[in-house]
């Protein structure tokens, strides 16, 4: 298998582009967003690209749907892990929590997911929720 570095560089850029396009399209067309994630996944497999931890946790490995808590997935904390249940295909993803991190709030912010809080509520993600 000839894996030239130039191929890989282009693949990496395309994957990032596709994933960010997918996030933008998620509101208007979920199927299209899935298609972009699928394409990004194919590129990742073909050209042996490793995703960063933030990127790899944005979607379901099985059905490639972008996760949005409440809409496409259910997030729970069980037994020291964040458990994400895909509402589309039922696949379960578990992410271990490091003991030193704050477990007081549900660590959705650790995954970089969009989330909401009622106005004034405190959140560990550092964003101002209105």
């Amino acid at each position: 298998m000839d894996l030239k570095e130039s191929h890989k560089m282009i693949a990496v850029e395309r994957i990032e582009r596709l994933l960010s396009l997918a996030e933008r399209k998620l509101g208007e067309n979920q199927d299209l967003a899935r298609r972009y994630v699928e394409l990004a996944w194919k590129l990742k497999l073909r050209y042996r690209v490793r995703l960063s931890p933030e990127l790899k946790r944005k979607f379901c490995r099985k059905c490639k749907i972008l996760w949005k808590p409440g809409v496409s997935c259910r997030v729970r904390i069980r037994s020291g892990r964040v458990t994400i249940i895909c509402l589309r295909c039922g696949h379960i993803t578990r992410i271990p929590l490091r003991p030193k991190k704050n477990l007081g709030f549900k660590n959705v912010n650790k995954l970089g997911m969009e989330h909401e809080r009622d106005a004034g509520e405190r959140c560990t993600c550092g964003q101002a929720h209105r």
Partner: protein
């Protein structure tokens, strides 16, 4: 390396603005829109409300790259599955 005039044939076309310059199918001429999907032989272009499927092999296209440059290309040179085009072209 960002999308340039040379490497865009291997890069992602989805999300780029495109204009159909020439086509053997007159109904496709001067179609202007954004690429929303791609298969081996087709490009899906969203023009206003409509999404049109355009065969790559019969058109001549002008793409607008993110850095503002315009590139004209014969569609035949873009034929191929998107994941394969990284290597070829």
């Amino acid at each position: 390396m960002p999308i340039t005039k040379h490497n865009f044939m291997r890069h992602e076309l989805i999300g780029l603005e495109v204009v159909v310059l020439e086509s053997s199918d007159p109904s496709l001429k001067s179609l202007k829109g954004i690429v929303v999907d791609e298969t081996k032989n087709m490009l899906k272009i969203e023009a206003g409300e409509k999404v049109k499927s355009v065969p790559k092999s019969v058109v001549h296209l002008r793409f607008t790259l993110p850095n503002g440059e315009d590139v004209e290309i014969e569609g035949i040179r873009l034929v191929g599955r998107p994941e394969d085009r990284v290597r070829r072209g």
